[in-house]
Structures are given as structure tokens and as C-alpha cells.
Subunit: 440 residues, 2 copies
Amino acid sequence: MGKYFGHATCVLRPRTTQQVSEIVKYCASRRIGIVPQGGNTGMVGGSISLRKEIVLSLGAMSNVRSFDPVSGILVADAGCILQSLSDHIAPHKHIMPLDLGAKGSCQIGGNVSTNAGGLRLLRYGSLHGNVLGIEAVLPDGTILDQLSVLRKDNTGYDMKQLFIGAEGTLGIVTGVSIMAPPAPQASNNLFLALPKFDNVLPLYQQVKGQLGEILSAFEYIDRTAYDMGVKHGLGPILNLDEVGDAECFVLVETSGGNNTHDEEKLNILLESLMSADESLINTGVLSQSPGQFENIWALREGLTECVQKEGKPYKYDVSVPLTDFQKVVDQVRERMISKGLYGDHGITKVMGYGHVGDGNLHLNVIAKNGYRPELEEALEPFIYEVVASHKGSISAEHGIGSMKTDALRYSKSDVSIQWMKKIKQVFDPLNIMNPGKVLP
Amino acid sequence: MGKYFGHATCVLRPRTTQQVSEIVKYCASRRIGIVPQGGNTGMVGGSISLRKEIVLSLGAMSNVRSFDPVSGILVADAGCILQSLSDHIAPHKHIMPLDLGAKGSCQIGGNVSTNAGGLRLLRYGSLHGNVLGIEAVLPDGTILDQLSVLRKDNTGYDMKQLFIGAEGTLGIVTGVSIMAPPAPQASNNLFLALPKFDNVLPLYQQVKGQLGEILSAFEYIDRTAYDMGVKHGLGPILNLDEVGDAECFVLVETSGGNNTHDEEKLNILLESLMSADESLINTGVLSQSPGQFENIWALREGLTECVQKEGKPYKYDVSVPLTDFQKVVDQVRERMISKGLYGDHGITKVMGYGHVGDGNLHLNVIAKNGYRPELEEALEPFIYEVVASHKGSISAEHGIGSMKTDALRYSKSDVSIQWMKKIKQVFDPLNIMNPGKVLP
């Protein structure tokens, strides 16, 4: 985004946990700040040296320590790239429990440190459930070895959880033990046009009920986003006449163990949707080939790039209760209109898409002719206030980094922030570990 | 088990979080110890007043605060009984993500505080993934409100995770927000006899591969346990001739959305097992009726009661890597034989059963003619040492309570224990919150 510039005078690339420990001990003795850096693919400036801290890159620690094809438990150095880990376990018919656009660069240690979400969360849950253990170097150089390969272990406080999502402010994750699910043997998808947003939730309920355990994605795209995608050459997946005045679209994906069974379930679902007296959808299509399957995903995944082509985007990654999903988008658009900032001179598009199943909305506000301070002022903290009014999260999966420290209070109470500070103080009294990140 | 006796002179039953806060403030001002108590169904003396601390029962806080049938997110007072919550959401076609034998008495706050595992963990994962938020009263009376209903929220440290499994030593959980999965529409099971333990892991791998997303339980029973069950009137599920000299048994359960599909998958599995050149099983049966389904589960679930009938049991709830499952049982039996303590005068049976899928072994050592100090001395710390040598957990799901504080070091390093103590010190400097539990 061209938003952050690093100021590190030095980058260290240790090869072992022991070396990380020695570096940290040295830095602690001289109060030198450390920015732990994984694949450097974050969106919120969490892995950037803002104040000349040294950068400690985990990139040279990239060995798989073990993989058990029976339990699916993988133990790896923090610097292993997510895609490499996927490749490593694929021959054993397992997949990583998370999948991100950045998978070719992002590292598992960074994934854990930022509690990365992504496309598989609906099916496999969050890293708080999938990470079985971590090894971390604490801000005094101590190595905390909790690299358990056990699925169940109720012996005291689950300390590792604190490091999941701490963005390197409590210590440096150097190793990860993670549970990989068996690879599904069949994947299918379905693309639906809905007359109005109000139908999304009843649809989600019906889809969950009928597809049950094979449902692996339920993605939402509003009309503005869909039309933008089509304009830039994505899709069109559906016949324009049949789409009619659809207000929004839904992509449903299944992953299962038997293609015949899965297709049957999807066909029954589509038929029952089509033949209902008051249909929840205008039209829909079930992918009939791997090519069509890819096309449907390409529309959803291509939106980010289209947004860049449309102008300068203000991007927000928020969580709100499902009922409030589209309201947030509409409130922002109305705000810009009422401020006289909507149009070619200001904001040209406000759109929403995202993981409805997870309550995670990607809100994109586009300024065709570039960023302007008065636009940002009209958007922030307004959007954070709107999200807070819906009891949402101002950062569903991207984290806080250095970008949102001042906005943390919109999602966390004073008591919560005060306790986070106490935890930070216990682990890192010298404030050398990724200073200026997460906490205001 | 007749092992713990409470010494509380006073039991308080607050009705609101505010009342809990006031009680805690009062106790803090006078340094009065508090034992938070849910359903009092724990196995390790975690909810017992050992030193005349007051008991703070959550039983009068039993309101469901909200349930959203679209997202499946349930918010409830800590004192809600697990079974009542199941009943509450059943009409909306959802189930609780955990199921325990104690469900008729245990409370959701206690479940969270002890990180309860149980029968559904293989399918739905642990509470660290399923609990979305908690409300807790801290040891100074502050109310920490993190009762989020969001599936994704990456705004700072995930403090609530510390309370999951802290057994009430960091504060009192007063409310829980939890994700309930959609109810499966079909359940089936399969009971298999295996010639030898070495076949369990290849079988588990094959079952995971063929059943994939519908696999909901993979339970192990060794021959000693099976024969004991049959002797006490359970089963017999299988024809004795066909069982032959099987060393162990496996119960496989599926839960899915379409009974025809699930039965087809199970039939294909059973046929491929039966017709293999070197079959992994001696024999097996697929339940053909709800009655037979129940019978198969009754054998597995009835073992605990049979153990009581056989004599006085020493019970261990451990986690070990799957490969070492039966080794632990055999090592303990050999130990007792070599010490001359095996036989009617000492230990009469050593058996193992449990959740193989989770790596969780219930090791039962039976003294037909009663407990004797020299038996316990021969068993402990030997069993903990064996578990530690396999890098296992000395408490997979039961927790530490007051029973295993001295054994904590077999599963957690000095560094880990030292950091747990620091965390305890930050939250509870006066040591009034469930003192004497969890930490040595």
C-alpha cells in the first residue's frame, strides 16, 4: 500500500532458536528494540522497524522438524513458508488448517503471531484451536518450550495462547506445532444471486442445515463489488437477465470425502432453492467442471485487485454480527453522501465482501482520484464507531500492528486494555519486543 | 471417589455478576480465600474448599443470555448446566460442541474453567477454539467483559484464553459465549476387533481417509477392558469365535448430514477392511438399528462403572503420542509384576481405553482387595515418569486441581511453571482465588 517504510539499520537472520536467544539477550542487555519479522506480508505495519529497531528475520529458520501422517501433527520452524508446509504434507494427504492469499510468502511463525484467519477458518476453526504448541524466545532471552504434539493437555495455564495474535510483542515465536486436517477428496462450489440482503441469513441457515459437515466456505459479495468485478473482466458467472436487480451474491463451497455424495447434496440444495414458493435467490449455478470451479473462485479472489484498479482504496477488515453486515456498508456510503464527499471528487464506491460465515466483512471505500485528508477524516474514526456500535471488531483478522493502536479502544474496554498492558509489562518490562505495536 | 472432603464454613450463591464482584471485593479486602464452584463434578479436587475458604457457587446464575440460530452463537451465565444448554438449542438444530458423562450436573462455567474435553473433541475441537468470549470477575473484583459474539477478532492479546483451563485460580468465569455447531442428522457406529495393537494406527489412518469429515469418534478399548465389560454384562458386541485372540477393539462413530451417504461410506469402509489381503481386523460390525448403536456405545461408556465393580481403581487420565498408547499400559503392568505386586494380593488388572483420536488414554489400575500405600508408591510417580518419557501429559482432560499440583513438573518445564506463577502473581497477588490449586 506504500504506507510504511522501515528504518532498521540492521537485519539479523538467525538459524537456530539458540541464536535467537543469544540475540535477544544481547539486545536486552543494551535495551535495543527488536522487530520480529516473518514473511513481511502483514497489512497493518506490524513487522516494520519504525524507530530504528533491529529486524530479526525468521526466514533462515525453515526446517520441518517432524510430521506424523497418522495424527496429522506437524512441527516446524517459525520461518517455514505456509505454501512449503502445504507441499510438505500434501503427499501424506493432509492440508494446512489455514489458507491465505499470501501463502507463497507468509511464514507459519508470522501466521501464529498474527492469528491469521483466511479462507479455511469456517471449516477448520482458528489457530487458537489448531496450534498445539509453540516454542518462543521471551524478551529476556529465555526459551519457552511448549512445543507439545498432544491434542489434549490440561496441565496449567495455556500460556502459548498469549503468543497467538500478540504480533511479536511478548516474545519471538521460533517453532510451531500444528494440527493438519486430512485433505478433502472433492471440492465443489455454487454461486447464487440474491434479490436482497435480508435473504442472506435465511440462506446461510438453510445451507448450513443441508450441507452440514461438507460446507467449507460461505462468501458474500455485494452488488457494487460484483459489478466492479465483471467490469474488470471477472466472470460474469451468471446470466445478466436472470441476475436482474439482485442486491448481492453468495459463493458456497463444499469439501468432502466423496464427490458423488457432495454433488447430490448440492443438487438437492439448489433444487430446493429454485423450487421454493418464495425463493431466496434470483438464480444460481453449480460448477460443472474444474475450470468453472476456478472461475467462480477467481471472481471472489480477484476483487482485491479490481479495487486497486478502481482508484485508491481505504480498506477496513472488520467483524460484525451477521445481521449487521450490509448495514455497515450502507452507513458508510450514506455518511459520505451526506458530507458531500461522494462522487468523482471524493469517494466513488463503497462496497463490502467477505467471509459471512465468519462474520468478517472486508469494507472497501474507493477514491477514484486519490487519497485526500478530508476523506480519511470523514471515514475515521466514523467507521470504528459504527463497528463499535454493532459490538464488532475493528480488526477481524489483520491485527493491530502500528496502524490501529489508537483504534484498539473501539473494540476493547479500558479494563481489557489495562490488563493487556499488565501482561506486556510482565513479559517485556524493558519494552524491547516490537515496541509501538498492538498497545496504544 | 471418596477422596476429598470440603471444609468451607460458608457457601455463597450470587445471582448476578455484580454480586460476584461485590463478594470478591469484600474477600479481597479481608484476604478471604474463595473457591469458585460449578457443578462440582471434577475429578481432581479443584472445586473443594481445602483450607476453610468460602465456596462461591455459580449455580444460581443460570440464565441463557442469548442464542442466535443463524450463527449458532450462544451466550450464557456460567452456572447453566451443560444438558440444559443442549436442550435449549436443540429445537434450533444445534448441539453443544462438547459432551461429557457429567452433562446433567456440570456447568458451562466449570467446563470452560477446566477446559473440559469429552466425546466431541475429535470432531469439534477444544474449547480454546469454540469459546468466543468470557466474562470474568478478577481477584480484585473488577469485571472483565470480553463476552464477544464474534468468530474473528484480532484486537490485542486473547486474554480469555488464560481463563480456559485455569480452574478458577485467575478469576471467576461468570459468563460464556460459545459457538454451537449445527446438529448432525444421522449417526452411525462400527465396532471392530483387531488382532494386535500395531494395527490401530494404520486403521486410524484408513478410517480418517475414507470417512473424512463425518468421522466423529475413534475410541480404543484393550482386551482386558473388553473382557471385563463382557463379564459384567455389557455387549458382547461381537461373536466370540470371530473375535479370536484380538488384542484390542475400536469403536468408530460417524455423524453426518445424510444417512444414506454415511451408511454407504461405512459399508465401503467395512468391506475394504474385510476383503483386504492382510486384514487389519479380525471381525467387525456396523450398527443396524438405534438399539444396536446404543449397545455399542453402552459398552464403551459402561467401562467406568465396571471398573468400580472390579475393585478399587487407581485412575489416570493421560495423553501420549498415538504410537505409545498401549506401551504405557504394558509398562505399568510389567512394573507391578516385577515388583511382585500383581495378583490377588495387589493389582489385579491394568487396562487402557480412551479417545485414540485425541491421544487421550484412560489408564485404569485395579486393586481387587482395596487400596494399599505400597501399591500407590509403586504406581506414582512411576506412571508420571513413563508419561513424561513419552512427552505426554499427566492430565489430558481432568486438569490439575489439588490432586496433581506436585506432578505438574512431569508435563511442564521449570520455565513454564515459573511463568505460570508470574501470571498468577499478576492476577492474584493476594492468592485468594482458589488457593492451593493448579500451581505447586
